[in-house]
Symmetry: C2
Amino acid sequence: MTTIDDQTEADSGREDDAYLLDRRAVAAILDAVEKGDQAQLTELMEPLHAADIADLLEQIGHVDRESLIRLYDHEFDGEILSELDESIREDVISILAPQVLADAVRELESDDVVDLIEDLEEPQQETILGALAETDRLAVEQAMSYPEGSAGRLMQREVVMAPAHWNVGQAIDYMRSNEHMPDQFYHVILVDPRMHPVGNVTLGKLMGARRTVPLLDLTEEMFHVIPATQDEEDVAYAFNQYHLISTPVVDDEGRLAGMITIDDAMAVLDEEHEEDIMRLAGVGDESSLSDSVAETVKRRLPWLAVNLLTAILASLVIALFEDTLSRFVALAVLMPIVASMGGNAGTQSLTVAVRSLATRDLTGANVWRVIRREVLVGLLNGVVFAVTMGVVGVIWFGSPQIGYVIAVAMVINLAVAGLAGTVIPVMMDKMGVDPALASGTFVTTVTDVVGFFVFLGLAGMVLL
Amino acid sequence: MTTIDDQTEADSGREDDAYLLDRRAVAAILDAVEKGDQAQLTELMEPLHAADIADLLEQIGHVDRESLIRLYDHEFDGEILSELDESIREDVISILAPQVLADAVRELESDDVVDLIEDLEEPQQETILGALAETDRLAVEQAMSYPEGSAGRLMQREVVMAPAHWNVGQAIDYMRSNEHMPDQFYHVILVDPRMHPVGNVTLGKLMGARRTVPLLDLTEEMFHVIPATQDEEDVAYAFNQYHLISTPVVDDEGRLAGMITIDDAMAVLDEEHEEDIMRLAGVGDESSLSDSVAETVKRRLPWLAVNLLTAILASLVIALFEDTLSRFVALAVLMPIVASMGGNAGTQSLTVAVRSLATRDLTGANVWRVIRREVLVGLLNGVVFAVTMGVVGVIWFGSPQIGYVIAVAMVINLAVAGLAGTVIPVMMDKMGVDPALASGTFVTTVTDVVGFFVFLGLAGMVLL
């Protein structure tokens, strides 16, 4: 029995360092690798879970990674591969000896193999498929026939099912006599003669009931079936919303095709969050800490280029007022404040909207109320900061007009920020575009343009 | 048996509308409420899961909510309360008749009651505790003695355990004869005579084994125990990292105190993400779509105030160069571009760092490599945009000097953005502060100040 507690407890000097791969542990491992000390390496790696080994491989450089794998490859576990970040996975697969890779892949369940190969290049895919037994390969190929990011890709084909007319005794005898039960399962899925799932019985209920009780009397009240073509984001949502543990997946004809368990749904939820947070910041979707400098530049450049265009647009607005600016340099000093406050308030509204759309809390039923609230919030915050900045303007530049101009511009820009921060993501969602993807740029463009235009325009009217 | 499929299938005209509360359904429900038609309301609500009813109550206004609850209260399920957003929960509890509230609360498991009352005010807490049976109340009070956000608050006390020396037959007989088994459980926890958990046996393995097999021969390879004082964020991390399904929780002496199941860990993961994304945007932690205008203003104002201070700081930097600006207004037109590009690049680095710290991918083992990468990425992106803006500067203003100045300022500011975007969150994390919380403001302050200072300072040297 492997326990990771000894290791994590030793590491957790500070409470929130629990589960952090220890720097000394990493150093000791790299030391063993450098010395080529296989025995010591094996001893150091033994307490680590596959997920921790994957993290370790991600955190060290390519050269160390290659030496470590070559020294450790007799013990290389398939699960390490499925835990690895995509950007490192190809590297590790290319390092592994073909026989080691084949052994590692054969240990995995079909859904893990699918997850492993779907992002690989064709030749590496072929290598891995070739290593599988015939039936496993067919299972993987069938899963790959479903669209990327669908329930069909996520499901495992290994399920435990029973005819709906069976009783408890029949189900238990069947399970006792069957050699090929999945490693982990939590429900028996009841199916009708056409293989349509009709109910779930938890193992706990099965275990507590007398042998003569019909299975149909024990089914869970909440029964949820997922179509194989459903988007994995919706699958994760359903697991989280309805507290599902495992759920049958059905094909186009409603026949049982496989099942999805909550641990896979949790991984999807985690990925979706990562995607949202990265997209909101204008970082490429699939970016990873182990990407090279060149890859990172390539991913981030397009977003910065879009930002440059919108920044130039804002500059063109400023250029309209060069005449005003040349007479009142104070305006150049103050104008970034209006734009910056608008950008921040817009980002606040935007983030709330993007997140609420993702959690299905922002719907047709409340969209108008939310827009109204965001605009009102913008107006009220605008008034507070208008008064503040009006006073600052008067004190700093001794000019009531400048105070007045910045105050009015602040109110207008913060109300616009609330409006744009909500309407833009809602519209993108309606058009079927991920609202996290580019809304941020649009919103700050609006608040920059409006901020500079209103502030400098008003100043031109009032001061000239 | 309740199936929600009929309803969601009808709704999903577009694929990603699956699970979205239908606007027509909401309208029909509100219509029944307005007419006071209890029979129709009950019929419309019947197919809805408690989580969907909670969403519905969050999406409608206070007046509709009150009418709906009064009309529906004979069927009000305790689970609706635990699914409700905190901001609406107090409102709903104050609407419910005391008897309905008491009945609703008594249906819940101890961990759900804890989750329900921990954010309530004292008097509402008392009301709910008073409604519970003696043993349940003690269980809840004991859980409440653990710190907020700890594993002790998250765990349920209902566990299924067996002495480690039992065999399969003894365990099954015990479960058959025990009337009070939890609704959902997936493992039998083996304990030694001092009540220390020593292993987990899945129900699937138990079911497949002969009666004479010792339980210790069936334990899972991966066995993980969580201290009751552990932070719930670490609990969620462990479930996601090690694919745990349910895990025993132990007290200070290592004795079994309860267990945590993956669905609760998934909910924590979801909340932690929400917190990160909201904090990064400078929106209060616990904000919700159903907050009132006043609450929302109150939550967002402090963040905007901090931003105002930093914006004024940036303006003070600009004010240093009023003289230069008054001679070359073109500088006022171009200066926001340098600051804006720096702010964006800094946010990119920052988001990657915050997210990597949350997933424990950024550690002492790779922090220097990551900082080096971010600075290099900033430099390279800086060079690309320096060339672009240099050319734009020359074409737009016909001045090679302006082109040269903006190019150099761009390179410096983007490298600084990469540095600040990584170092600031890492330092905050070292100091025990959530890096998502205020890093954004610090990073954009740095890029604004450096951007304006370098651009205007260089311009002063080159042009004057």
